[in-house]
């Protein structure tokens, strides 16, 4: 251990890790954390099961799927439906999983008392948040890519087995699908981070987040909106409704996943989601910088 200690003032007041170094640290944390793998692995897995595996099994049995005749069921699993099949789960169960991930990441820093350790090493609070959000975006991007890759592989296998046409979507459609999927995923993740930070813990944040995604939004959309004009207007501003609308637009309007409803058009949905993402990040930064850390 070195005995040399600089005189006060000899070193800059704030020497700490750069943003890339902090993103690297956050990626290390994410990589080593089992919960990351469970939550991020579950989403493409469920996606695959519900958009390809179950419809294909129902087709091979010659039965109709959700009232759709077998031939059309097969068509829906083929490569040209890649974007729809890779993203259709994102607004609902994907949202629930990613909101949980965000809440877990932010909330457990309070439970473990690790936030004070991170800040104790010198970075600004906003730099810490930026590093954490960027690392989250990076793993979400990787997960969206994995979802596309898995869906593509299984679709290609189905097309091969059934000697059906393998028409892949164009590069533009894929890029829009990736971008839109990442926007939806990041918005859910950031809303989870906001909840975990606001509530300074995981349990309540996850609970409230899940009730919102799985119950409140669907009650507003299915029960309240048809009855009252106010709720009809309100639903157009909900994150889940906009996520569903964006995915439906990217998928060419033909998505039968429950919870995915095209209420607003795709462009508007993208803007609303971006606004949610920006607001969640800004509010988290505000909470983080304004509050005492005890």
């Amino acid at each position: 251990m070195s005995a040399a200690v600089a005189a006060p003032g000899a070193r800059p007041a704030r020497s700490s890790g750069s943003l890339p170094a902090i993103v690297g640290a956050e990626l290390l944390k994410l990589r080593r954390r089992p919960a990351t793998w469970v939550l991020l692995g579950l989403w493409p897995a469920l996606q695959l099961v519900f958009s390809l595996v179950i419809p294909y099994i129902s087709y091979t049995r010659g039965s109709s799927f959700e009232g759709i005749p077998p031939e059309q069921v097969l068509t829906s699993t083929l490569p040209d439906r890649l974007v729809a099949n890779a993203l259709s789960g994102l607004p609902l169960f994907g949202g629930a999983l990613l909101l949980t991930l965000g809440a877990l990441l932010a909330g457990s820093e309070y439970g473990w008392g690790t936030l004070k350790s991170l800040l104790g090493q010198g970075p600004r609070r906003t730099t810490v948040l930026a590093g954490q959000l960027l690392a989250l975006v990076a793993v979400l991007a990787a997960t969206v890519v994995v979802s596309f890759a898995l869906t593509a592989a299984v679709s290609a296998a189905i097309a091969g087995a059934e000697s059906a046409p393998a028409d892949w979507p164009g590069a533009g459609e894929l890029a829009r699908g990736f971008g839109g999927g990442l926007l939806v995923a990041t918005t859910w993740g950031a809303l989870g981070v906001l909840l975990g930070t606001a509530l300074r813990g995981t349990a309540l944040a996850i609970g409230l987040g899940l009730v919102w995604v799985l119950a409140v939004e669907s009650l507003v959309v299915n029960v309240a909106a048809p009855l009252l004009g106010f709720f009809d207007a309100l639903q157009r501003g909900l994150p889940g409704v906009n996520a569903g609308s964006l995915v439906a637009a990217l998928a060419g309007g033909d998505v039968r996943t429950p919870g995915v409803v095209a209420v607003v058009d795709g462009g508007q949905a993208a803007w609303v989601l971006a606004a949610f993402l920006a607001a969640a990040s800004a509010l988290t930064a505000l909470l983080l910088t304004r509050r005492d850390l005890t």
Partner: protein
């Protein structure tokens, strides 16, 4: 618990505090530092100084406001009023040279000890070389690959200290670093703190383990209910010993001693007069009593352990001196007399 006898003078490497920090510049200065949570004032106009190179003990009973004060020094908690300067800069902006362990080690249970330090080293902007160095310092190199959640309490605490040392800080702030450690662990931490001081670092350490503070600290501040009771060197604090006087008539003796020393330094225990007085005051007390016609049959100075001083200072029934309006906290020591 360790006894008080002669431990301060036995420090191995560093010179005695009076030589080590003669009039060293202050590393930490707080000026009427105050924190209120709602109606409750948790830290109340605390003004103290930590000098460069010293091991400073921050003592007080549970809930005294020690942790809250340290959090304000680190910029984790914003003061309600007053200010704190750390290494010449407003508290919280001098983090580059401050290493801290506040209220237990905050580390990731699912990461290994080494990976925890890896994460923190990236946050600190220090190279991976520091990781091996601090692991070695706290003697955890062998277990560095194990998950933090599998560590014993003492190992966790040591890894927390290692994390505080990553930046090679000039000032180390440790909040009850021996919390939950067994005697062997306490002794290890003590050795470590001595080493840090010998390397020229300033160490601020909060504790309610008086034996620990007595053995390693140069100076201490005692706080209770957020107020500073005493800031002095350990010897000086202990030096304000107890003078036990067997006197007759006792009532007259109480009155005379009260006039001489102040009523709050006089009490009667088991028919004897107990006075809070420094050794140098013995003669004056004796003279005053005899002049007043009191028969003095016994007069002895009892050295106190820091524990006794602490208990007396923080006794709930005894209003702390700082509570009296306009009266400053007692600063025992040559400079204040």
């Amino acid at each position: 618990m360790q006894t008080a006898t002669g431990t301060v003078g036995q420090r191995p490497a560093p010179a005695p505090p009076s030589l080590r920090t003669p009039d060293a510049e202050p590393v930490v200065t707080t000026d009427r530092l105050t924190k209120r949570y709602g109606q409750r004032t948790v830290v109340d106009a605390l003004s103290l100084q930590v000098r460069r190179g010293e091991v400073f003990g921050f003592l007080g009973p549970n809930g005294a406001g020690k942790t809250t004060t340290l959090r304000m020094l680190l910029g984790l908690v914003r003061p309600t009023s007053g200010s704190a300067t750390v290494l010449g800069r407003p508290a919280g902006t001098s983090v580059a040279q401050v290493g801290a362990l506040v209220e237990g080690p905050g580390l990731y249970p699912y990461l290994s000890g080494r990976d925890n330090l890896r994460v923190l080293a990236r946050y600190a902007g220090v190279g991976p070389g520091r990781i091996a160095a601090v692991l070695d310092t706290v003697d955890l190199t062998d277990r560095a690959g194990d998950r933090f959640s599998t560590y014993s309490l003492g190992m966790k605490q040591r890894l927390g200290i290692a994390a505080a040392l990553l930046k090679d800080p000039a000032l180390v702030v440790l909040d009850e670093p021996t919390n939950g450690l067994d005697p062997a662990g306490i002794s290890e931490v003590r050795t470590l703190l001595r080493r840090l001081a010998a390397e020229g670092r300033t160490v601020v350490l909060s504790s309610h383990l008086l034996g620990e503070v007595e053995q390693i600290c140069d100076r201490v501040a005692v706080v209770a209910s957020g107020r500073l009771l005493v800031e002095s060197s350990v010897e000086e604090l202990r030096g304000l010993g107890r003078l036990v006087v067997d006197a007759d008539p006792l009532e007259t003796a109480v009155a005379v001693a009260g006039r001489l020393l102040g009523a709050d330094r006089v009490s009667v225990v088991d028919g004897a007069l107990h006075l809070q007085a420094a050794p140098g005051e013995t003669a004056a007390v004796n003279r005053a009593l005899v002049t007043a016609g009191v028969g003095v049959t016994g007069l002895r100075q009892e050295a106190r352990t820091l524990e006794e001083v602490f208990l007396q200072l923080t006794e709930p029934g005894d209003p702390p001196p700082a509570e009296t309006p306009g009266r400053r906290p007692r600063r025992v020591g040559r400079s204040a007399r």
